[in-house]
Amino acid sequence: MQRTRCPNKPRRILLVGNPNVGKSALFSRLTGTYITTSNYPGTTVEFTRGLLRMGGEQVEVIDVPGIYALEPTSKAEEVAVQMLEQGDVVINVVDATNLERNLGLTLELLEKRKPLVVALNMWDDARHRGITIDVAMLEELLCVPVVPTVAVTGEGVRELVDRLGDARAPEVVFSSSEGRWAKVGEIVGQVQSLSHRHHTLGEAVGDISSHPVWGFMLAAVVLAAAFGGIRLVGEGIIKYISDPFFEMVWMPLLMKLSPLLGGAGMWHDIIVGRLINGGIDFMQSMGLLSTGLYIEFGVVIPYIVAFYFVLGLLEDIGYLPRLAVLMDTLLHRLGLHGYAIIPTILGLGCNVPAIMATRILESRRERFIAATLISIGVPCAALQAMVMGLVGREGIRYVALVYASLFVSWVVIGLILNRAVKGFSPELLVEIPPYRFPPWRVIGQKLWFRVFIFIKEALPIVLAAVLLVNLLYLFGVFDFIAGVAAPVVSGVLGLPRESVVALAVGFLRKDVAVGMLAPLTLTAKQLVVASTVLAMLFPCVATFVILLRELGLKDMLKATGVMLAAALVVGGLQNLLLPD
């Protein structure tokens, strides 16, 4: 077989393949940078880049979102196809357990005349399933290097890098897609042989999860377990790690610092916070080093860790696409299809990546509806953690009331948007990947990556919000805002005028805003109303920016209008209907 060297060293390598073939895992093996790898399509919505060391030189590697064909059907796929133009070598990651379907894309890529190397990934899995592939023959038929790999363990990755220089762009043209699939069939017939195998345990459970009755039972159990697990882990971290630290280590330090700053006054209050009964109250003092750090590390991070741990498990095991199938009928009524459940669930962690993930939906209409519903009805983990802490003190039934109100609003607003927004919704079409239990190392890395990103993004804004609250108090701005908004807030929502300040701060950070409700001694009912309105009224500033970027100014303003109206209506109804 003839082999020509690549004339130039590659400067940019693209990883291209179907969703869920281990592209992201291979990316992390190649570059050493860890980026999330998940068992469902659409994780790599924003492409990720890293550097690969190749013969003493650094080469850029880009992980392209998963695509089935070069004819895009969603915004994520569109991005992927555009990115193809920018690379000079393509590593086509192919799932060895599903050669036929994957080769369809391989042949399309060959037609693009980009130098190509094929990574025959999940090689170990193929062996277990009794699939044998003649690699040498496949290489000969495709006229490009083919390297078997196991991205999760790193097997074959070194050889893949060694063969990058052999990447070739043979001349291939097909007259039609029938012609291409005929060629695929011919190739598979020559290189692949199958031996009989039995259904695995994973497949049996897979069948239950999509059963029209048992599937819902299983979903109820899984979601209840997920919710319970999040609470258990979150409260566990608070009780055994963060609270002891803040009470026993941090508090004494702050109490030493307090007299050094004079015990009172503007700077003291900004940095340490106001002393309450001669001591620091982490929820109420509103200093940068007291409330600022406590909200972030004492309340929110424990829940963020818990949430992303449980989400990571559900993702990597492969449960979420199954949930998408179950939710499809309901979501159709809301103008979406089942797959929209994935961004929605991401939103329970943070609305920002959730709204970005709406790109996996096909139409602009769906993205508008999904993004609006997420920013109204899906509370982020930071907000939930604070609601759990503050409203939970009054009894778990009040927390449940907040969740129930949000869920009902999410459904009702969806029903309305489905009628009000022009167009129709495409249908669900999704691959249900086999269950896989990922290595704990992968789960741990992914958790660390997500928590780290959260701290990096959220901490500066939390501190800025606390600082701003102090300054606005000092300059009397809040009195002004409170004066203007008080008639609505107390008239419609039944909240004291001081809570206006908290609602306004919700624009910066929801968690800080809930914290500001703490000193107001609200009744349980008022806490429910305030928490619900905070969740619905405005997305935080970071979400606003993302909404603007993803939807454009006009649709962002429309979404904001829906939010304002919905928050007032729902808060007003709660105020009217709930007993005092």
């Binding site: 357990t97 599903n98 036929e100 999509s210 199938v325 499809d328 009928t329 079409l429 999704v430 691959e431």
Partner: protein
Amino acid sequence: MGEVVSERLVLPLSKMGAGQSGTVVEIVGGHGLVRRLEALGIRPGKKVSKVSSMLFRGPVMVRVDNVQVAIGFGMASRVMVEVHAAD
């Protein structure tokens, strides 16, 4: 239900029973639909087996090769399958 043409039973995927299998004979739809389905391995000539379907015209789950695919009800009713006789 379906049309029987000289011992052949052709049904849309949406009307097949859970556990039945057959061969795709035609996809009744535009170019876009055909391309999206074939990208997931569903195209004329392929053997598919129906795993289950959700109630209230919910999605249909099928197995093709080694993969399970969920297809919205409307789409599934455009995939015509020649049902294999149960053996």
